[in-house]
């Protein structure tokens, strides 16, 4: 038998004590079962405290003052950048651009890189499972430039249909923008394969890592992606902070996106010279304390261990698939647990997703209902709306059982039992 790295299994109950919000009783009485982690995760005391201390002890504007407090604040902000660099294994710190989130990061690329590199006749390749954040900015680019958007289709089982990939990735392809993990189906996409196809025709690749950064190892050097975007709030950091990783050589040649303070070297009345990386892309006062919060979240994540998180979520997903399959009239969207991260979307026969979520809420179970910002994908799957349960390491098997019980109750209340 080959040696397997031993992963210490996670005891979610031990970690939960760090999360005050998980003690919440819905309407004052019913324990909260938070299964909406793909929308946003909760944050532990340590992250909240890191932000409180930053405000109480170290806060001033960054890169601006010569005074002591500004140096403190700048150090913390730049140390956060180093934490992110090491978390994603980027070569340089200045390849890490702080943004407001995944959406802002993708828009930055579509505007700055897109407007300068893409012209009519060029092609952008997306997949049919993209979040609107990784679709609309490209549609806007197409409106501005006249380029064409093409899509890698999704199979009925929720995986990407790569059979015709060689017809989709051509010399006309300028960029492939693809999600690492579908926020609806949970599907883990074969990034490596798609990235090497794209690079073979000298197309760039942007990876939307919003759903993978909190749950999967992200190594930008190994991945060879040109751009990677993710959000702090889905990995226990605060909202209002996100990251754009870009390869140094590409970022250097990109024009600044937003103009303002910090991003310049020199300004005259008749023009400006833009500053160096990463400042060039961080116009204005940045999200200073949110960046510090994100660094604290990364520290916390590293203490648990991404591999252990993945293992635990895999148990939760397997159990969810198993219990949901036992409920008559449930259709699970997406592939089986082996190919998915901790996300399970489903529809109940003849019960609308809203009604399901409403009845789950009575049981304290917070799940999502709707199209989860992926309307084209829902259309392709032939459903108007679905329900989604999404996990993090602090969820328990017991909570999955409560979800299944709530679904049975929904069937009873709606007279579908």
């Amino acid at each position: 038998m080959p040696a397997v790295d031993a992963i210490t299994p996670i005891d979610p109950h031990a970690w939960r004590t760090d999360f005050p919000i998980l003690e919440t009783r819905i309407r004052g009485t019913c324990p909260l079962i938070y299964l909406d982690n793909a929308a946003t995760a909760q944050r532990p005391r340590q992250v909240i405290q890191a932000m409180v201390s930053a405000y109480e002890e170290h806060y001033a504007n960054v890169h601006r003052g010569v005074h002591w407090l500004s140096d403190q604040s700048t150090d913390l902000y730049e140390n956060s950048r180093e934490k992110v660099r090491s978390f994603i294994n980027a070569v340089h710190c200045h390849e890490v651009i702080f943004t407001a989130g995944t959406t802002a990061a993708i828009n930055l690329v579509a505007r700055s890189w897109g407007d300068s590199q893409v012209k009519a006749g060029d092609e952008i390749l997306l997949t049919m499972m993209e979040h609107h954040s990784n679709l609309v900015p490209w549609q806007q680019l197409a409106e501005r430039t006249g380029c064409t958007i093409r899509f890698i289709p999704v199979r009925d089982n929720g995986t990407l249909a790569l059979d015709n990939i060689d017809e989709l990735v051509t010399e006309r392809t300028k960029i492939v923008a693809i999600t690492a993990i579908s926020n609806v189906l949970g599907t883990i996409n074969p990034l490596q394969e798609i990235i090497s196809k794209a690079h073979a025709v000298e197309a760039k690749v942007l990876v939307d890592a919003a759903q993978s950064a909190p749950h999967e190892v992200l190594d930008v050097q190994q991945l060879q992606a040109d751009f990677v975007a993710f959000s702090g709030h889905k990995m226990m950091g605060p909202s209002g902070i996100g990251v754009l990783y870009g390869r140094e050589t590409i970022l250097e040649r990109m024009p600044p996106f937003m103009g303002g303070g910090s991003m310049i070297r020199r300004v005259r009345l008749d023009g400006f010279e833009s500053g160096d990386l990463p400042a060039k892309f961080e116009a204005g006062t940045p999200p200073i304390v949110p960046a510090i919060g994100l660094a604290s979240a990364i520290e916390y994540l590293s203490r648990i261990g991404i591999a252990a998180i993945r293992e635990h979520e895999s148990l939760l997903t397997q159990r969810t698939h198993q219990l949901l399959q036992e409920v008559d009239g449930v259709r699970i969207l997406g592939p089986g647990p082996a190919q998915t991260a901790g996300i399970v979307s489903f529809v109940l026969d003849r019960i609308h997703a809203h009604d399901v979520a409403q009845i789950c809420d009575r049981h304290g179970v917070a799940i999502r209902a709707g199209h989860h910002c992926a309307m084209p994908l829902h259309k392709a799957l032939g459903v108007n709306a679905s329900n989604r349960a999404s996990f993090y390491f602090y969820n328990t098997l017991d909570e999955v059982d409560r979800l299944a019980a709530a679904l049975k109750d929904a069937k009873k209340i709606m007279r579908r039992a």
């Binding site: 939960r16 003690e23 997703a353 809203h354 009604d355 409403q358 108007n384 709606m414």
Partner: protein
């Protein structure tokens, strides 16, 4: 252990929330009144709630300033289907002016079950579509209806 015993929770739920899914609501959503197309419609309108993907189309036959027939079709949650069904029943025979005067508050009280603001949107979708339909004559309307 953060979990309370099950009986306690169920009890609490029964008392803390008024039942939305009452018999009359479920009856309407399971077997809606006039769900389908209105042949000879003089007025029609369609709208959706992109947030939840619900779509409602309303078709009216207005004759002598009265709603002679009201039909709806669409996809939606229990609340939006049931409310549309109740509204179609309510509209028939009313004058166009009465329908215009039929306000959101009246729609909510027609529904009877109490709704949170979030679900009120579902309940009011078909009502809004009806209000617009009054001003939307179909192409082949004969001109004896309301053109607004």
């Amino acid at each position: 252990m953060y979990w309370r015993n099950k009986e306690q929770i169920t009890q609490v739920m029964m008392h803390s929330e008024e039942e939305i899914y009452q018999e009359h609501v479920l009856d309407h959503s399971d077997d809606p009144y006039h769900r389908g197309r209105c042949i000879d419609a003089t007025h029609a309108h369609e709208d959706d709630n992109p947030l939840c993907g619900d779509v409602v189309r309303v078709e009216l036959r207005i004759q002598d300033q009265r709603v002679a027939e009201a039909w709806f079709d669409g996809e939606g949650c229990c609340i939006s289907l049931a409310s549309a069904s109740m509204l179609m029943e309510e509209l028939e025979g009313k004058t166009v002016q009465d329908v215009r005067n039929f306000g959101a508050e009246q729609m909510l009280s027609l529904f009877r079950a109490k709704l949170t603001p979030n679900r009120q949107k579902c309940c009011l979708l078909s009502w809004k579509v009806v209000q617009s339909a009054l001003y939307s004559p179909t192409n082949d309307a004969t001109g004896n209806g309301e053109t607004g």
